[in-house]
Protein backbone atom coordinates (compact mmCIF):
# COMPACT_ATOMS: atom_id res chain seq x y z
CA UNK A 1 0.00 0.00 0.00
CA UNK A 2 1.26 3.44 -0.81
CA UNK A 3 1.24 5.89 2.03
CA UNK A 4 0.68 9.63 2.30
CA UNK A 5 3.73 11.64 1.35
CA UNK A 6 5.35 14.16 3.66
CA UNK A 7 4.22 16.90 1.30
CA UNK A 8 0.58 15.80 1.49
CA UNK A 9 0.76 15.56 5.28
CA UNK A 10 2.17 19.07 5.60
CA UNK A 11 -0.45 20.41 3.18
CA UNK A 12 -3.14 18.88 5.36
CA UNK A 13 -1.66 20.50 8.47
CA UNK A 14 -1.46 23.93 6.84
CA UNK A 15 -4.92 23.71 5.28
CA UNK A 16 -6.65 22.49 8.42
CA UNK A 17 -4.96 25.00 10.72
CA UNK A 18 -5.90 27.79 8.32
CA UNK A 19 -9.54 26.73 8.42
CA UNK A 20 -9.50 26.74 12.22
CA UNK A 21 -7.69 30.09 12.43
CA UNK A 22 -10.04 31.73 9.91
CA UNK A 23 -13.10 30.37 11.69
CA UNK A 24 -14.20 28.14 8.80
CA UNK A 25 -14.06 25.34 11.33
CA UNK A 26 -15.38 26.27 14.74
CA UNK A 27 -16.69 24.69 17.91
CA UNK A 28 -16.91 20.89 17.82
CA UNK A 29 -15.71 20.76 14.22
CA UNK A 30 -12.56 22.69 15.12
CA UNK A 31 -11.84 20.42 18.07
CA UNK A 32 -12.29 17.32 15.91
CA UNK A 33 -9.97 18.81 13.29
CA UNK A 34 -7.27 19.56 15.85
CA UNK A 35 -7.55 16.10 17.37
CA UNK A 36 -7.18 14.61 13.91
CA UNK A 37 -4.13 16.75 13.25
CA UNK A 38 -2.58 15.51 16.48
CA UNK A 39 -3.09 11.99 15.23
CA UNK A 40 -1.61 12.82 11.87
CA UNK A 41 1.43 14.34 13.56
CA UNK A 42 1.83 11.27 15.79
CA UNK A 43 1.69 9.05 12.73
CA UNK A 44 4.15 11.15 10.74
CA UNK A 45 6.68 11.35 13.56
CA UNK A 46 6.59 7.63 14.34
CA UNK A 47 6.56 6.08 10.91
CA UNK A 48 9.71 4.60 9.57
CA UNK A 49 11.20 4.71 6.10
CA UNK A 50 8.94 3.82 3.19
CA UNK A 51 9.02 0.01 3.04
CA UNK A 52 7.81 -0.20 -0.57
CA UNK A 53 11.15 -1.21 -2.09
CA UNK A 54 11.92 -3.77 0.59
CA UNK A 55 8.46 -5.26 0.23
CA UNK A 56 8.72 -5.53 -3.52
CA UNK A 57 12.05 -7.28 -3.06
CA UNK A 58 10.54 -9.70 -0.53
CA UNK A 59 7.69 -10.53 -2.90
CA UNK A 60 10.10 -10.98 -5.80
CA UNK A 61 12.14 -13.36 -3.69
CA UNK A 62 8.97 -15.26 -2.82
CA UNK A 63 8.11 -15.54 -6.50
CA UNK A 64 11.64 -16.80 -7.11
CA UNK A 65 11.04 -19.62 -4.62
CA UNK A 66 7.93 -20.58 -6.62
CA UNK A 67 9.83 -20.68 -9.91
CA UNK A 68 8.88 -24.33 -10.49
CA UNK A 69 5.21 -23.70 -9.86
CA UNK A 70 3.43 -23.68 -13.25
CA UNK A 71 1.12 -20.79 -12.29
CA UNK A 72 4.09 -18.62 -11.35
CA UNK A 73 6.39 -19.88 -14.10
CA UNK A 74 3.96 -18.62 -16.73
CA UNK A 75 4.47 -15.07 -15.44
CA UNK A 76 7.81 -14.93 -13.67
CA UNK A 77 10.54 -13.90 -14.06
CA UNK A 78 9.11 -10.70 -15.53
CA UNK A 79 10.85 -7.93 -17.47
CA UNK A 80 11.88 -6.22 -14.25
CA UNK A 81 11.53 -6.46 -10.48
CA UNK A 82 9.95 -3.05 -9.93
CA UNK A 83 7.21 -2.66 -7.33
CA UNK A 84 4.57 -2.21 -10.05
CA UNK A 85 5.67 -5.29 -11.97
CA UNK A 86 5.87 -7.43 -8.85
CA UNK A 87 2.38 -6.28 -7.82
CA UNK A 88 1.05 -7.09 -11.30
CA UNK A 89 2.52 -10.60 -11.19
CA UNK A 90 1.34 -11.31 -7.65
CA UNK A 91 -2.17 -10.18 -8.60
CA UNK A 92 -2.22 -12.32 -11.75
CA UNK A 93 -0.94 -15.37 -9.89
CA UNK A 94 -3.51 -15.09 -7.08
CA UNK A 95 -6.33 -14.49 -9.57
CA UNK A 96 -5.27 -17.53 -11.60
CA UNK A 97 -5.59 -19.69 -8.47
CA UNK A 98 -9.12 -18.61 -7.48
CA UNK A 99 -11.53 -21.54 -7.51
CA UNK A 100 -8.74 -24.09 -7.91
CA UNK A 101 -7.64 -26.67 -5.38
CA UNK A 102 -4.90 -28.38 -7.37
CA UNK A 103 -1.37 -28.61 -5.99
CA UNK A 104 -0.10 -25.57 -7.87
CA UNK A 105 -2.86 -23.31 -6.56
CA UNK A 106 -2.55 -24.65 -3.03
CA UNK A 107 1.18 -23.99 -3.07
CA UNK A 108 0.73 -20.44 -4.31
CA UNK A 109 -1.76 -19.68 -1.58
CA UNK A 110 0.41 -21.32 1.06
CA UNK A 111 3.60 -19.50 0.09
CA UNK A 112 2.70 -16.17 -1.52
CA UNK A 113 -0.44 -15.22 0.34
CA UNK A 114 1.09 -15.17 3.84
CA UNK A 115 3.74 -12.72 2.66
CA UNK A 116 1.10 -10.37 1.28
CA UNK A 117 -1.12 -10.71 4.34
CA UNK A 118 1.91 -10.16 6.58
CA UNK A 119 2.61 -6.90 4.77
CA UNK A 120 -1.00 -5.82 5.39
CA UNK A 121 -0.55 -6.65 9.08
CA UNK A 122 2.63 -4.56 9.20
CA UNK A 123 0.81 -1.67 7.56
CA UNK A 124 -2.07 -2.01 10.02
CA UNK A 125 0.37 -1.74 12.91
CA UNK A 126 2.09 1.34 11.45
CA UNK A 127 -1.18 3.08 10.62
CA UNK A 128 -3.09 2.12 13.78
CA UNK A 129 -2.84 5.65 15.17
CA UNK A 130 -4.77 6.88 12.12
CA UNK A 131 -7.76 4.78 13.20
CA UNK A 132 -7.84 7.04 16.24
CA UNK A 133 -7.74 9.96 13.81
CA UNK A 134 -10.74 8.58 11.95
CA UNK A 135 -12.66 8.12 15.18
CA UNK A 136 -11.79 11.64 16.36
CA UNK A 137 -9.78 10.41 19.33
CA UNK A 138 -6.51 11.82 20.56
CA UNK A 139 -3.70 9.35 19.81
CA UNK A 140 -2.80 7.11 22.72
CA UNK A 141 -0.01 8.68 24.75
CA UNK A 142 -0.89 12.20 23.70
CA UNK A 143 -1.37 14.66 26.54
Amino acid sequence: MSRPSDAALWHSVASTLREVAEGSLAGVEARVAVVRLAGLAAYASARGADPAEARAAALATTLDTLAQNPVVAARWPAADRSAETVADVCAEVLVACVGRDDDAAVEVRAVLRPVLVGQVDDDLAEHAVLLDVYRGRLPRGAR
Binding site: A87, D88, C90, L116, V120, Y134
Partner: protein, 317 residues
Protein backbone atom coordinates in the same frame (compact mmCIF):
# COMPACT_ATOMS: atom_id res chain seq x y z
CA UNK B 1 -14.76 24.04 4.29
CA UNK B 2 -17.34 26.59 5.43
CA UNK B 3 -20.23 27.49 3.18
CA UNK B 4 -20.15 30.87 1.47
CA UNK B 5 -23.43 32.02 2.96
CA UNK B 6 -23.76 35.06 0.73
CA UNK B 7 -23.41 33.00 -2.44
CA UNK B 8 -25.76 30.38 -1.06
CA UNK B 9 -28.34 33.05 -0.24
CA UNK B 10 -28.07 34.41 -3.78
CA UNK B 11 -28.54 30.90 -5.19
CA UNK B 12 -31.61 30.26 -3.03
CA UNK B 13 -33.05 33.66 -3.85
CA UNK B 14 -32.71 32.91 -7.54
CA UNK B 15 -34.24 29.48 -7.10
CA UNK B 16 -37.20 30.74 -5.08
CA UNK B 17 -37.76 33.85 -7.16
CA UNK B 18 -37.40 36.26 -4.27
CA UNK B 19 -34.88 37.41 -1.66
CA UNK B 20 -33.87 34.77 0.88
CA UNK B 21 -32.15 35.55 4.16
CA UNK B 22 -29.83 32.83 5.41
CA UNK B 23 -29.83 32.56 9.18
CA UNK B 24 -27.97 29.88 11.07
CA UNK B 25 -25.77 27.40 9.24
CA UNK B 26 -24.47 24.34 11.02
CA UNK B 27 -22.61 21.21 9.95
CA UNK B 28 -24.58 17.98 10.29
CA UNK B 29 -22.60 14.85 11.19
CA UNK B 30 -19.00 14.12 10.22
CA UNK B 31 -19.41 12.20 6.99
CA UNK B 32 -16.46 12.21 4.64
CA UNK B 33 -17.82 11.92 1.11
CA UNK B 34 -20.40 14.70 1.36
CA UNK B 35 -20.46 17.68 3.68
CA UNK B 36 -23.96 18.18 5.07
CA UNK B 37 -25.05 21.58 6.37
CA UNK B 38 -28.32 22.52 7.99
CA UNK B 39 -29.32 25.94 6.66
CA UNK B 40 -32.11 27.89 8.34
CA UNK B 41 -33.62 30.62 6.18
CA UNK B 42 -36.69 32.80 6.21
CA UNK B 43 -38.02 30.54 3.46
CA UNK B 44 -37.63 27.35 5.47
CA UNK B 45 -34.98 24.96 6.72
CA UNK B 46 -32.91 23.03 4.24
CA UNK B 47 -29.98 20.65 4.07
CA UNK B 48 -27.17 21.49 1.66
CA UNK B 49 -25.16 18.45 0.62
CA UNK B 50 -21.77 19.33 -0.85
CA UNK B 51 -19.46 16.97 -2.71
CA UNK B 52 -15.91 16.58 -1.41
CA UNK B 53 -13.80 16.23 -4.52
CA UNK B 54 -14.82 12.77 -5.66
CA UNK B 55 -14.55 10.79 -2.44
CA UNK B 56 -15.58 7.13 -2.96
CA UNK B 57 -15.99 7.66 -6.70
CA UNK B 58 -19.75 8.19 -6.46
CA UNK B 59 -21.85 10.49 -8.61
CA UNK B 60 -23.77 13.40 -7.12
CA UNK B 61 -25.79 13.77 -10.31
CA UNK B 62 -27.04 10.20 -10.12
CA UNK B 63 -27.75 10.59 -6.42
CA UNK B 64 -30.01 13.58 -7.15
CA UNK B 65 -31.89 11.79 -9.93
CA UNK B 66 -32.40 8.68 -7.85
CA UNK B 67 -33.60 10.61 -4.79
CA UNK B 68 -36.05 12.59 -6.90
CA UNK B 69 -37.41 9.41 -8.44
CA UNK B 70 -37.67 7.64 -5.10
CA UNK B 71 -39.43 10.59 -3.49
CA UNK B 72 -41.95 10.69 -6.33
CA UNK B 73 -42.52 6.97 -5.84
CA UNK B 74 -43.37 7.43 -2.17
CA UNK B 75 -40.14 6.07 -0.69
CA UNK B 76 -39.21 7.88 2.55
CA UNK B 77 -36.45 10.15 1.28
CA UNK B 78 -35.96 13.89 1.56
CA UNK B 79 -37.27 15.95 -1.31
CA UNK B 80 -34.44 17.36 -3.40
CA UNK B 81 -35.29 20.96 -4.25
CA UNK B 82 -32.37 22.19 -6.35
CA UNK B 83 -29.03 20.96 -7.62
CA UNK B 84 -25.92 22.85 -8.68
CA UNK B 85 -23.64 20.37 -10.46
CA UNK B 86 -20.91 22.68 -11.74
CA UNK B 87 -19.28 24.01 -8.59
CA UNK B 88 -19.71 27.58 -9.84
CA UNK B 89 -21.63 28.75 -6.75
CA UNK B 90 -19.92 27.16 -3.74
CA UNK B 91 -16.72 25.85 -5.30
CA UNK B 92 -18.03 22.27 -5.31
CA UNK B 93 -21.20 20.67 -6.68
CA UNK B 94 -24.06 20.53 -4.23
CA UNK B 95 -27.78 20.01 -3.91
CA UNK B 96 -30.42 21.33 -1.56
CA UNK B 97 -33.09 19.20 0.04
CA UNK B 98 -35.82 19.73 2.60
CA UNK B 99 -34.77 19.25 6.20
CA UNK B 100 -36.40 16.32 7.95
CA UNK B 101 -36.46 16.80 11.71
CA UNK B 102 -35.74 13.66 13.67
CA UNK B 103 -33.00 11.60 15.25
CA UNK B 104 -30.38 9.49 13.48
CA UNK B 105 -31.46 5.90 14.02
CA UNK B 106 -28.09 4.84 15.42
CA UNK B 107 -28.59 7.27 18.30
CA UNK B 108 -32.14 6.04 18.94
CA UNK B 109 -31.96 2.31 18.22
CA UNK B 110 -34.59 0.15 19.88
CA UNK B 111 -36.58 -2.87 18.70
CA UNK B 112 -39.34 -0.76 17.14
CA UNK B 113 -36.83 1.37 15.24
CA UNK B 114 -34.90 -1.66 14.02
CA UNK B 115 -38.13 -3.23 12.76
CA UNK B 116 -39.23 -0.08 10.98
CA UNK B 117 -35.82 0.35 9.38
CA UNK B 118 -35.95 -3.22 8.06
CA UNK B 119 -39.52 -2.61 6.89
CA UNK B 120 -38.42 0.52 5.00
CA UNK B 121 -35.53 -1.29 3.32
CA UNK B 122 -37.75 -4.22 2.38
CA UNK B 123 -40.23 -1.83 0.79
CA UNK B 124 -37.39 -0.18 -1.13
CA UNK B 125 -36.26 -3.56 -2.44
CA UNK B 126 -39.82 -4.43 -3.50
CA UNK B 127 -40.26 -1.18 -5.46
CA UNK B 128 -40.98 -1.53 -9.16
CA UNK B 129 -38.09 0.63 -10.27
CA UNK B 130 -39.06 0.56 -13.94
CA UNK B 131 -42.57 1.81 -13.20
CA UNK B 132 -41.02 4.51 -11.01
CA UNK B 133 -38.76 5.44 -13.96
CA UNK B 134 -35.67 5.54 -11.78
CA UNK B 135 -32.68 6.63 -13.84
CA UNK B 136 -29.56 4.76 -12.74
CA UNK B 137 -26.24 5.19 -14.54
CA UNK B 138 -25.81 1.41 -14.79
CA UNK B 139 -28.72 -0.86 -15.76
CA UNK B 140 -27.61 -4.49 -16.10
CA UNK B 141 -28.90 -6.32 -19.15
CA UNK B 142 -30.11 -9.17 -16.97
CA UNK B 143 -30.46 -9.64 -13.20
CA UNK B 144 -27.70 -12.23 -13.24
CA UNK B 145 -25.24 -9.58 -14.43
CA UNK B 146 -25.90 -7.15 -11.62
CA UNK B 147 -23.50 -8.42 -8.97
CA UNK B 148 -20.70 -8.86 -11.49
CA UNK B 149 -21.31 -5.29 -12.65
CA UNK B 150 -20.98 -3.97 -9.12
CA UNK B 151 -17.77 -5.92 -8.52
CA UNK B 152 -16.32 -4.37 -11.67
CA UNK B 153 -17.61 -0.96 -10.68
CA UNK B 154 -15.67 -0.99 -7.42
CA UNK B 155 -12.61 -2.57 -8.98
CA UNK B 156 -12.54 0.29 -11.50
CA UNK B 157 -12.89 2.84 -8.68
CA UNK B 158 -9.88 1.49 -6.82
CA UNK B 159 -7.74 1.02 -9.93
CA UNK B 160 -8.24 4.65 -10.88
CA UNK B 161 -6.93 5.66 -7.46
CA UNK B 162 -3.70 3.67 -7.32
CA UNK B 163 -0.45 3.35 -9.27
CA UNK B 164 -0.24 -0.45 -9.01
CA UNK B 165 -2.75 -3.24 -8.43
CA UNK B 166 -3.42 -4.47 -4.90
CA UNK B 167 -2.94 -8.24 -5.25
CA UNK B 168 -5.30 -9.19 -2.42
CA UNK B 169 -8.02 -6.92 -3.86
CA UNK B 170 -7.58 -8.47 -7.28
CA UNK B 171 -7.86 -11.91 -5.74
CA UNK B 172 -11.03 -10.86 -3.93
CA UNK B 173 -12.44 -9.47 -7.18
CA UNK B 174 -11.92 -12.83 -8.87
CA UNK B 175 -13.36 -14.66 -5.86
CA UNK B 176 -16.48 -12.50 -5.87
CA UNK B 177 -17.01 -13.16 -9.57
CA UNK B 178 -16.44 -16.87 -9.12
CA UNK B 179 -18.91 -17.21 -6.25
CA UNK B 180 -21.55 -14.63 -7.21
CA UNK B 181 -25.00 -15.95 -6.19
CA UNK B 182 -27.73 -16.07 -8.82
CA UNK B 183 -30.25 -13.23 -8.90
CA UNK B 184 -33.75 -13.42 -10.35
CA UNK B 185 -34.89 -9.84 -10.04
CA UNK B 186 -33.15 -6.49 -10.03
CA UNK B 187 -33.98 -4.41 -6.98
CA UNK B 188 -33.11 -0.91 -5.83
CA UNK B 189 -30.24 -1.34 -3.39
CA UNK B 190 -29.36 1.48 -1.00
CA UNK B 191 -25.71 0.44 -0.84
CA UNK B 192 -24.94 2.02 2.53
CA UNK B 193 -27.86 0.74 4.54
CA UNK B 194 -28.06 0.93 8.28
CA UNK B 195 -29.03 2.96 11.32
CA UNK B 196 -26.58 5.77 10.60
CA UNK B 197 -28.41 6.52 7.36
CA UNK B 198 -31.95 6.76 8.66
CA UNK B 199 -33.81 9.55 10.45
CA UNK B 200 -36.37 8.38 12.94
CA UNK B 201 -38.92 9.66 15.40
CA UNK B 202 -40.53 7.55 18.08
CA UNK B 203 -39.57 4.25 16.47
CA UNK B 204 -40.74 5.32 13.01
CA UNK B 205 -38.39 5.84 10.07
CA UNK B 206 -39.01 9.29 8.61
CA UNK B 207 -36.38 9.06 5.88
CA UNK B 208 -33.54 6.98 4.56
CA UNK B 209 -30.51 9.16 3.83
CA UNK B 210 -27.17 9.13 1.97
CA UNK B 211 -28.13 7.68 -1.39
CA UNK B 212 -24.78 8.04 -3.18
CA UNK B 213 -24.22 4.26 -3.28
CA UNK B 214 -27.69 3.39 -4.55
CA UNK B 215 -27.84 1.10 -7.59
CA UNK B 216 -29.73 -1.82 -9.11
CA UNK B 217 -28.73 -5.17 -7.73
CA UNK B 218 -29.22 -7.82 -5.07
CA UNK B 219 -30.99 -6.72 -1.86
CA UNK B 220 -28.75 -9.12 0.08
CA UNK B 221 -26.06 -6.47 -0.20
CA UNK B 222 -28.15 -4.15 1.99
CA UNK B 223 -29.03 -6.81 4.56
CA UNK B 224 -25.39 -7.74 4.94
CA UNK B 225 -24.25 -4.12 5.11
CA UNK B 226 -26.83 -3.34 7.75
CA UNK B 227 -25.85 -6.34 9.82
CA UNK B 228 -22.08 -6.50 9.51
CA UNK B 229 -21.11 -2.89 8.82
CA UNK B 230 -23.42 -0.05 9.83
CA UNK B 231 -25.60 -1.93 12.25
CA UNK B 232 -22.95 -3.76 14.22
CA UNK B 233 -22.56 -1.02 16.83
CA UNK B 234 -26.29 -0.87 17.58
CA UNK B 235 -27.35 -4.52 17.64
CA UNK B 236 -25.67 -7.92 17.52
CA UNK B 237 -25.63 -9.62 14.10
CA UNK B 238 -27.85 -12.43 15.40
CA UNK B 239 -30.45 -9.90 16.48
CA UNK B 240 -30.35 -8.19 13.08
CA UNK B 241 -30.70 -11.55 11.32
CA UNK B 242 -33.77 -12.33 13.42
CA UNK B 243 -35.41 -8.97 12.63
CA UNK B 244 -34.62 -9.27 8.92
CA UNK B 245 -36.12 -12.77 8.83
CA UNK B 246 -39.22 -11.83 10.82
CA UNK B 247 -40.02 -8.48 9.19
CA UNK B 248 -38.66 -8.87 5.66
CA UNK B 249 -39.00 -12.63 5.30
CA UNK B 250 -35.32 -12.90 4.33
CA UNK B 251 -33.54 -16.04 5.39
CA UNK B 252 -30.12 -16.44 3.80
CA UNK B 253 -27.71 -19.32 4.24
CA UNK B 254 -24.49 -18.71 6.19
CA UNK B 255 -22.61 -19.01 2.91
CA UNK B 256 -24.63 -16.26 1.34
CA UNK B 257 -24.21 -13.99 4.36
CA UNK B 258 -20.45 -14.63 4.07
CA UNK B 259 -20.44 -13.77 0.37
CA UNK B 260 -22.16 -10.45 0.88
CA UNK B 261 -19.98 -9.59 3.83
CA UNK B 262 -17.00 -10.14 1.54
CA UNK B 263 -18.63 -8.03 -1.17
CA UNK B 264 -19.24 -5.13 1.21
CA UNK B 265 -15.70 -5.32 2.56
CA UNK B 266 -14.44 -5.27 -1.04
CA UNK B 267 -16.64 -2.27 -1.80
CA UNK B 268 -15.36 -0.46 1.26
CA UNK B 269 -11.70 -1.33 0.67
CA UNK B 270 -11.94 -0.11 -2.93
CA UNK B 271 -13.86 3.07 -2.10
CA UNK B 272 -11.53 3.99 0.72
CA UNK B 273 -8.52 4.13 -1.59
CA UNK B 274 -10.06 7.14 -3.34
CA UNK B 275 -9.56 9.08 -0.13
CA UNK B 276 -5.80 8.51 -0.07
CA UNK B 277 -5.61 9.53 -3.72
CA UNK B 278 -7.52 12.76 -3.11
CA UNK B 279 -5.44 13.49 0.00
CA UNK B 280 -2.19 12.88 -1.83
CA UNK B 281 -3.17 15.14 -4.74
CA UNK B 282 -4.26 17.90 -2.36
CA UNK B 283 -7.84 17.83 -3.66
CA UNK B 284 -9.14 16.99 -0.20
CA UNK B 285 -6.49 17.57 2.48
CA UNK B 286 -8.73 16.81 5.45
CA UNK B 287 -6.89 14.55 7.93
CA UNK B 288 -9.62 11.93 7.90
CA UNK B 289 -8.96 11.36 4.20
CA UNK B 290 -5.51 10.02 5.07
CA UNK B 291 -7.02 7.89 7.82
CA UNK B 292 -9.76 6.40 5.66
CA UNK B 293 -7.40 5.78 2.76
CA UNK B 294 -4.92 3.91 4.91
CA UNK B 295 -6.04 2.49 8.24
CA UNK B 296 -9.71 1.97 7.43
CA UNK B 297 -8.87 0.54 4.01
CA UNK B 298 -6.44 -1.87 5.69
CA UNK B 299 -9.00 -3.00 8.27
CA UNK B 300 -11.43 -3.88 5.48
CA UNK B 301 -8.71 -5.51 3.34
CA UNK B 302 -7.52 -7.69 6.21
CA UNK B 303 -10.99 -8.98 7.02
CA UNK B 304 -11.67 -9.52 3.33
CA UNK B 305 -8.46 -11.52 2.95
CA UNK B 306 -9.57 -13.84 5.73
CA UNK B 307 -13.02 -14.36 4.22
CA UNK B 308 -11.60 -15.11 0.78
CA UNK B 309 -9.19 -17.64 2.28
CA UNK B 310 -11.95 -19.45 4.20
CA UNK B 311 -13.16 -22.87 2.92
CA UNK B 312 -15.40 -22.71 -0.10
CA UNK B 313 -19.06 -22.24 0.93
CA UNK B 314 -21.34 -25.17 0.17
CA UNK B 315 -24.28 -23.62 -1.60
CA UNK B 316 -22.51 -21.08 -3.77
CA UNK B 317 -21.15 -21.72 -7.28
Amino acid sequence: MALDEARLAAFLSDALGGPVVVGEVSRIGVGSSRAMHRVDTDAGAFVVRVEQGGVFGTSGAEEVRVMQGLHAAGVPVARVRWAEPTGAVLGRPFFVMDLIEGDPADAAMDPATAEDLVRALAALHALDWRAAALAFDVVPGAPGEATQAQVERWAAVYRAAVAAPVPLLEEARAWLHHHAPPLDRLAVVHGDAGPGNAITDGGRVLALTDWEFAHLGDPAEDWSFCLSMRGVRTMAPEAWRAVVARVAGVDMSPARWAYWEAFNLFKGACANLTCLDLFERGVNPAPDMAAIGTSLHLVFLRRLADLVAAPLPEDLP
